[in-house]
Symmetry: C3
Subunit: 199 residues, 3 copies
Amino acid sequence: MAGTVAFVVTGVLAVAHKGIDLFSATVMGIITAVGGGTMRDMILDVPIFWSIDQNYIWVSIIASIAAFYSSSAFSQKKVNKMMLILDAAGISLFGIEAVDKVWGLGFGIPLAPVLLGVLTAIGGGLIRDVLADRQTLLMSRTLYAIPVLLGCVFFVMILTYLPDYNLAGALIGVLIIFGIRLTAIQKNLTVPDWIYLKI
Amino acid sequence: MAGTVAFVVTGVLAVAHKGIDLFSATVMGIITAVGGGTMRDMILDVPIFWSIDQNYIWVSIIASIAAFYSSSAFSQKKVNKMMLILDAAGISLFGIEAVDKVWGLGFGIPLAPVLLGVLTAIGGGLIRDVLADRQTLLMSRTLYAIPVLLGCVFFVMILTYLPDYNLAGALIGVLIIFGIRLTAIQKNLTVPDWIYLKI
Amino acid sequence: MAGTVAFVVTGVLAVAHKGIDLFSATVMGIITAVGGGTMRDMILDVPIFWSIDQNYIWVSIIASIAAFYSSSAFSQKKVNKMMLILDAAGISLFGIEAVDKVWGLGFGIPLAPVLLGVLTAIGGGLIRDVLADRQTLLMSRTLYAIPVLLGCVFFVMILTYLPDYNLAGALIGVLIIFGIRLTAIQKNLTVPDWIYLKI
């Protein structure tokens, strides 16, 4: 739920400087928070998670309204950084939780858990950016999606080769994503040159 | 069906000034008309409505071709206004009809009927705008989605607290959306300042 | 599979000049190759094809990495043309194969097989272009989607009126798409004026 709130707030803030009304801000907040998981569940063909537990939507709505009316506070550098850190916690938890869900369903093992883990973590943000006509993070050099990929791959390898250590594996997977992302935020790390291309 | 035709025509007109061929115009017309309902049915995990009644697609194709070849007529101010009014009828009927469908399935009550009502009404237009690289209505100050939200919330409240009056509730819900939207078109109303933010 | 590889490589090349990292390039490659078929299977409500045969994803990943590190070769005019030709083969095979799949399921005959044939062939490229903020092919005058439409309509007509000749029909359908597209590449054909509109 902390991840949901963080996703919502970063979602609202990401579009606020373009000028937005309360309704659209709430839509953007909801999409950022639940968009990735919705696509995951549609691909898995299981009931959409927020149709079973509507608290995800309630929390998204309340956090959107709160973020909308207190957005001046968030523009301060310190609060903004705190949100980036919460967002890092969000992608870590969402990604690893999704791997666990997809693995438990035996869906397209071993590739699909990784793909859908990454999709769940970054998918909502991608839809928001497309709707707001912002550059999507896929086209930026920010070190954002790669940590999610590494954490999900790690967790899938644990589930494959050391299934008895799945809980420890999930925890370390979360820490891998959160740790790399946190370092990237603190030190303004970008994607290194040897895996970056511009022709 | 009148709503479908209006959606198609506004869909084609929305992209015509950018230069478009008959095929793409038809694709845009179909997407505007059935895109929202398609996403709704995919989330609900029920058969897509146009796979059962293909007339929605036939009507979309015919209306797209007609709009394409008669688009010079639509650029006239009067006809354009008539289309906006038909479009207002479209979002009213599509939104309330979707609430009714989602409620009938018992899906994520009470939040999901509202969410999917709004999605059905505006989703097709959002996809069209993204594909045509137009500013989506979420980023504009036009009073467009908020009336849909109000009408859907009203209808859900009737279904919850006064289920015996569901028919009257649906009718009033349609009138709420249509009435506010019509007033907004006539008086060029935009989203009021107290729910508008630009940081 | 040749079609998959071609789709991946054109997908990676399409975004490489904007500057992209290995991860994002791979995501773009995968989306270009499997995005259309994924949307088709979600609409059909059948298991996503790559969850059953993960080789589509493995091939996409390997081809993406190969394209990423050898992209300088692809910028040469000759190799680029070869890729366009492979891509033409890709849309031909993907489109007709999708018509066959949808027809076999008896889904929304006769319209849905055509719609989903076109969606399968061009859908992945549309998502890629939206995520990379490129102009989608729907807004360009390139003769790309119309050949797919013609081939799919032809194949559906054979399946309807001459079902005994379905194999020959599929083959001719592929040749129609591939032939028109190849001619368009060789002679730089664009959409003719009588089906093009700009108001």
